[in-house]
Symmetry: C2
Subunit: 140 residues, 2 copies
């Protein structure tokens, strides 16, 4: 019976996530960003093919109308632009603008600097990553 350990781990995950959000809030506000828009920006890797709405929704575990709303936020702030996917004209992809790439890089930097997880050293991080990857993969 591993319930107490599991409980503690779930609680700790929640705590770290909420604390991170809290610590990041002021920096996000400086860029007129919110947790939701930052998460959207986070999952658009500027080095990869721009994701469609559908892909973004899967990455953020939200539904289509919500994604439209979040995308509008990014577009309105000049951080991303919609483009029709030439392979399937039903599909719209989100492309980061120059400003979008800039803001993303800056906020990712701040997030990594402020996250409570930053107290761990290289070896601990690798250990943690191994465990978490097992979790995220087994239910990808």
């Amino acid at each position: 019976m591993t319930t107490p350990e599991l409980t503690a781990v779930v609680a700790a995950t929640h705590d770290i996530w909420m604390r991170t959000n809290d610590l990041l809030g002021p920096s996000l506000a400086e860029h007129q960003m919110t947790p939701a828009t930052f998460q959207a920006l986070w999952v658009i890797d500027p080095d990869e093919k721009p994701p469609s709405m559908k892909v973004m929704a899967e990455r953020l575990y939200c539904n289509a109308p919500n994604l439209t709303f979040i995308s509008n936020q990014l577009v309105d702030r000049g951080l991303a632009e919609r483009a029709v996917d030439p392979d399937d004209r039903r599909s719209r992809v989100l492309v980061l603008t120059a400003k979008g790439r800039e803001v993303r890089a800056e906020l990712v930097r701040v997030a990594l600097e402020k996250t409570p997880l930053a107290v761990l050293d290289g070896s601990e991080l690798r250990q943690l990553m191994t465990l978490l990857e097992r979790v995220t993969r087994s239910a990808g």
Copy 2:
């Protein structure tokens, strides 16, 4: 330079948290609960002294007006009751009702059953807990 590892760990934490929320949604809805109200219920340990609004706000990393809102949700649903703290009559504590204890136990059970973290075995959980405790304590 441990940036890539830290990035992966932060992303995985976010992913696990969002996925947990997503998996839990339907079960919460069955009890007219939402992520926010469940988190509030979660941090009220029925075996400990009822927490004040202030303490709850600290645990949930939210501000006082928000806590009032969430508390109202719990009270309206018959899961908790407000009581004046006799030691400091400015302070209000949240006491779980019988129904509140029931719903809490049930939802905690479901959460532990559905969390992606449940794929880990006892040894892995202890390892993970050690790492996460170091994180949560160092910036308590």
